[in-house]
Point group: C2
Chain length 422, copies 2
């Protein structure tokens, strides 16, 4: 920061980060009622100003199409009445969730009479770096406000009109509320240089959360000195053990692969015990192929159906589409080794009736979520019952797996004495 | 990592990090009994081989003195029978602490019948980067082993003989134990290049913990892509409010400043309410000066004693010695603003009988530990009753304030189903 100041650059980023930092101190003092009132105001303001938002969004769509943007990306960028009304409804749902701030996590007394307590406090200022979806602008802002934080948003240049419009509307709502409007800041300069400055802004940002593709996340992890909450890749596995119920195993493998193949908790590799394979693998391959799933199988798998021969690369691939790798294995030990070598520590399932193998799998697979006789598709803040989701952490510090509101908080020790000295 | 491999460098670091990673998978399965047995074996092995350790330590001392090392640094580097026996005793104490691994943190059931639980698991591989004190070698290794982790140690070149000897002895003990000896790795190449590689070794390290001076910690924070647990600087404040009991206030301010001025929880600035100042500041200044404390006072303070005029720089200085900055203030609001501007979010105390001001101070001062009527010197894992301390975190992610054993753990979700699909 001092370098930036020395260079005389009071950049847009630095000014806004400073406003956010000042607002964070105010936010930390706000009550649950004040925060929920503000979320309701944002919800109604979004609906009130929807014509403006949709017109600005249209500018991004037009520019995107003119620049040759694919229709699937255009679809991610697009807002319409229905999507806006979903966004507004999500804000109301958020008001119904418990406020984690102020929760007393522990209380104890020391022999010298010091009364100790550990409470939840906001993180402070959260930097969000994300890609084209403009709904993230509202989503991230509202989650940060609910948890008493300020947020500095840095979205994609392709969504800049939409993001500016949404933040303008959020500001209109916050001005009517008891929260500081400065708690939500949008960086309008979407250059790489500004992003790079944001990565290093430890003086103003308490955490960076990247949301988007693997490349974006990798860039942030590799370059940020601000602590990062890494969300991301899911090379998830379903292992069908020797004793797996065939019907259940096929149903879970199919669900984990095809129910929504583009998401991080979808299955990318199915591992099948050689004995189960003898009786049921042909049926499983057939069921997958009937659902138009392309199968990359190892040599043993090739005996049970017509599949593409799998290469070493397949074991490490997150297809995010209707493709899957299949491997026949000798034992649960081989499975654990395979997953810990090729996996991304996200979600893995074992289908088995052998509890000893389940215990081993639960204990030794090093992933955020491990399932017995259920689909990996349940790794999600809503499915876990958290009521909201910031993302799914694939790192081990701070938060692991689906992150609900508490992931946006820190803690603080309050110590009551009566003159104690050491 | 791929770059390192491509360059054909199977460096010492990479080989040892790989061994640690393999060992971490074994460590995660070990029981509390096995881990405690190993700690006891290390304790007795250190005493058994103390002649070897002290002879190797002597080489570092001789080299240090020959290179012009200051006597205070030599003292930090030095091991003797008494220090080794303290280190051995600490290992026995560690066996008595509860093992956080395996603890069930939460359990709940979802409407679809999924039985969810969240348990504590080891972090994996911890990278420790530290300065001259060789006791950190044993301390860090034992804390990591107790929590089921593997550790990659990178100490100072000035302590290399001591560190090699200590790790050799730890390995001797681990070979007799049921833990893998490879769980403790010492990087013998203490070049900057190797440290820089370690900062980026996300493929092998789950967290980096720097222990040492502000400069070391800053270098790690600025350059590491591996998540960092930041410990460090403490610019701690004692605020004496208008209604503070004079005797208590003076006793706490003195204790916080002089009981051990070189540590991070010592007080660096005393803020005094103007009304209290009128009646008691002269006495406080006198008491400090009687203890040889140099005082840097603002203009108002200068009316109450002979002090060095304070400059802007003093408010941000961690003296770590018998020096203190003193400022007269108008209100608790001014205090909160001052601390949040100049502080390092470590530990701050308010001495007051006005509960309203205490509440405000507790709520609005953004530090890891806030005290009412007690000395900041209590911010310490042992004083908090944790029985061990990894360090004092000054960041807000993962752990804040004194870190006990749970700070070296992560979590994992175990989900039991009976065929659930989404």
């Amino acid at each position: 920061m001092s370098e930036l100041l020395q260079a005389g650059k009071t950049s847009d980023l630095l000014q806004k980060a400073q406003l956010a930092k000042t607002a964070a101190a105010v936010m930390a003092k706000t009550t649950t009622v004040q925060k929920n009132d503000a979320l309701r105001l944002i919800s109604s303001q979004l609906l009130e100003e929807q014509a403006f938002i949709l017109a600005e969004n249209e500018k991004d769509i037009t520019a995107g199409r003119a620049g040759g943007m694919s229709e699937s990306l255009v679809d991610r960028l697009k807002l319409d009445k229905e999507r806006l009304s979903d966004i507004a409804a999500a804000l109301i749902q958020l008001t119904e969730l418990e406020d984690p701030v102020g929760e007393v996590l522990e209380q104890w007394e020391r022999p010298n009479g010091l009364a100790m307590s550990k409470i939840r406090v906001p993180l402070g200022v959260i930097g969000m770096i994300y890609e084209a979806r403009p709904n993230v602008t509202v989503d991230a802002s509202s989650l940060c406000l609910k948890t008493g934080n300020a947020v500095v948003l840095r979205g994609s240049s392709t969504a800049i009109h939409s993001n500016k419009a949404l933040v303008k509307v959020i500001h209109h709502a916050l001005e009517k509320s008891e929260l500081p409007a400065e708690a939500v800041q949008l960086i309008e300069d979407t250059s790489r240089e500004t992003a790079a400055q944001m990565f290093k802004l430890n003086s103003h940002l308490d955490v960076l959360i990247p949301r988007g593709g693997a490349k974006l996340i990798q860039t942030v992890v590799e370059n940020a000195s601000v602590p990062v909450l890494e969300t991301g890749a899911g090379n998830c596995h379903v292992y069908i053990d020797e004793t797996a119920n065939a019907e259940m195993a096929i149903s879970i493998a199919l669900n984990a692969k095809i129910q929504r193949p583009s998401v991080c908790n979808a299955c990318e590799t199915i591992l099948v015990h050689k004995e189960w394979a003898k009786h049921h693998l042909a049926e499983l391959l057939d069921a997958l192929q009937q659902q138009a799933v392309q199968i990359h199988g190892d040599e043993a798998t090739q005996q049970y159906g017509e599949v593409i021969p799998a290469s070493e690369e397949d074991w490490g691939t997150e297809y995010l589409g209707l493709e899957v790798a299949v491997k026949v294995v000798d034992s649960v030990d081989e499975v654990i080794e395979h997953i810990n070598l090729y996996g991304t520590k996200h979600s893995e399932a074992i289908i088995s009736e052998t509890l000893e193998n389940v215990d081993k799998f639960f204990m030794e697979v090093d992933s955020a979520a491990v399932y017995h006789n259920a689909s990996t598709r349940f790794t999600d803040g809503f499915e876990f019952g958290f009521g909201a989701e910031i993302g799914i952490s694939t790192q081990k510090l701070h938060a692991r797996g689906p992150m609900g509101l508490p992931a946006l908080t820190s803690t603080k020790y309050l110590i009551q004495g009566n003159g104690q000295v050491k």
